[in-house]
Amino acid sequence: MMAKNLNVSPLSNQKKGLRPVTKKNFITYAMVIAFFILFQTLMSTDNLKNAYQSLLVPICTNVIMALSLNLVVGVLGELSLGHAGFMCIGAYAGSFFSVLTEEVIPITWLRFTLAFAVAAIAAAIAGILIGIPVLRLRGDYLAIVTLAFGEIIKSIVNVLYIGVDSEGLHIAMSSSNLNLLEDGKEILRGPQGISNTPRDSTFFIGFILVMLTLLIVTNLMDSRTGRAIMSIRDNRIAAESIGINITGYKLLVFTLSAAIAGCAGVLYSHNLSSLTANTNNFGYNMSITILVYVVLGGLGNVRGSIIAAAVLYALPELLRGLRDYRMLIYSILLIAMMIFSNGAFFVQLREKIAFRFKRRTAQDAIPGRVE
């Protein structure tokens, strides 16, 4: 009986407004939508320089990458340094599919949607295959092994030749070994990659993909599965003690994150006419850059990942006017952001500001204040 009475008050309190989690998510969605509307308007009224227009799709790609890596690093709490490898698989699988079916499926949106599906599945399979052996490791060891796998994926696509003719697919390690018939064409040509991918990526599609990723990530985090994943991050031993299947959930996150990265790869490759794999787009540099977005945005912080990815990707381009000093300023800004997001003074400052705006929420955050 006692419990019944007590039941009423806290739950009815919750019903009064949106739950804090839901409210936070809605603000993030609104932010992304506002960003899209702003730039779409600027673009259609011709107020955006061409150089800046070309940044919009890559920004979406980077935001999606940051969101997917945030699942592994921020939500699951495992360090992965090979994330660009999954993007690489997605990019190649998607491009390959698009080039292969360009004449068979003339409807662009259908072909592009299928390309995303193919890429997501390919990257997810890679995620499972790599995840099964790798996820037995933890911490630094996991980071090193994922780094290696990322590089392996990049190296493999650089020596792979795939062509198609009336007999079907031909796969070889060199052009001369492909043995294509007269009517055949080489699609993937080793280090020269895939050329003539249809340029289907638009800012609108990028935006839709960002929103989908965002919905998947936020909905996942606020669900039974998400709680289990975060419990593993917070305390593995305790999570095990209450019956959470650690390996299963780790593999799930790794696979989902790989699939999303694969989709980002499709967006990337369909924004370029020729696709090649090098250190800057699919190698270790890219993985580290994405990790920087996630860490600076705040581990596990979805909104932070989005802002950090968008701002930090655009920044070097916007600083182009400074010429030689560009990367210097960029690094200084990186350091400044790190201090700003973690320094005690700035954290207090932010809390003060938040306190003024939202008196009630700030009070709740004071440690030890409980009835």
Partner: protein, 261 residues
């Protein structure tokens, strides 16, 4: 005892000659224990006697090198911690292990993970099953938290709770997994006498309300004497004494182990 044996296998927990060695060290040796349903049993002993090791053995954190144990007649030896929990054993930890970055409510809801299920896809797509299950989970979690008077801080982060409430939250989370056997590892550590008194009442209450069998490790003798009907005293990994609490606590061997000669 004779009556119970005549009734057949009524023991909830049956531990037979359980032991583990680390290198050459016998951390626990020849540990035997039989708990009947509804027992409130104490496990005491000086520091380093192997009490927590026994808990780690019973929850699958360590694999025993000797002996075996059964819950409700099913052998649990060699099973993983998560499986053992699913079969009905829940525990708390000596050094509190909460999910620090999750809210109080979510800590308990993780505990309900295997009680109220829906698939990952249902969660991502927000299908009706999600809302139905979440509502049931919320109600159950609040009900559990109100037993520990924590229903006022549902949205507080676990790390922001005061110490005593963190201990209570850990017990609430363990009970959320719907266990038959609850293992409490020094629940009164760091509590003042008033809080300890309150905790004793809570432990009795939850035992009755959730049909639990409780095994407690404790240093606080007032708590042990207050709630445990029977106790086992461990010293250097072996059983020193066993039986009714008041009798065991008077045993000169036990006093010697605690206070020295």
């Amino acid at each position: 005892m004779a009556v119970q044996e005549a009734l057949g296998n009524t023991a909830l927990l049956e531990v037979k000659n359980l032991g583990i060695t680390f290198g050459g060290l016998h951390a626990v040796e020849n540990f035997n224990l039989t708990l009947q349903k509804g027992d409130l049993y104490g496990l005491i002993g000086p520091n380093g006697a192997g009490k927590t090791t026994v808990f780690n053995l019973l929850t699958g954190v360590y694999k025993p090198t000797a002996g075996t144990f059964f819950l409700d007649g099913k052998e649990l030896k060699g099973k993983k911690p998560a499986e053992i929990n699913k079969m009905g054993v829940a525990r708390t930890f000596q050094n509190i292990r909460l999910f620090q970055n999750l809210s109080v409510l979510d800590n308990v809801k993780v505990g309900l993970h295997n009680q109220m299920k829906y698939t990952t896809l249902t969660g991502i797509l927000r299908l009706p099953g999600y809302f139905k299950s979440e509502r049931k989970m919320n109600e159950r979690a609040v009900e559990l938290l109100s037993v520990f008077e924590l229903e006022g801080s549902l949205d507080t982060l676990a790390s922001n709770l005061p110490y005593g409430k963190q201990r209570k939250l850990e017990i609430a989370r363990a009970i959320a997994t719907n266990p038959k056997l609850l293992l409490l590892d020094e629940p009164a550590a760091g509590m003042n006498p008033n809080e300890t008194q309150e905790l004793m009442e809570t432990i009795r209450l939850i035992r009755d309300r959730f049909d639990l069998t409780v095994l407690v490790i404790e240093h606080d003798m007032s708590l042990v004497a207050g709630i445990c009907e029977q106790i086992t005293v461990l010293n250097f990994g072996t059983e020193l004494a066993k039986g009714k609490t008041e009798e065991v606590l008077k045993d000169p061997e036990v006093i010697k182990a605690y206070l020295g000669e």
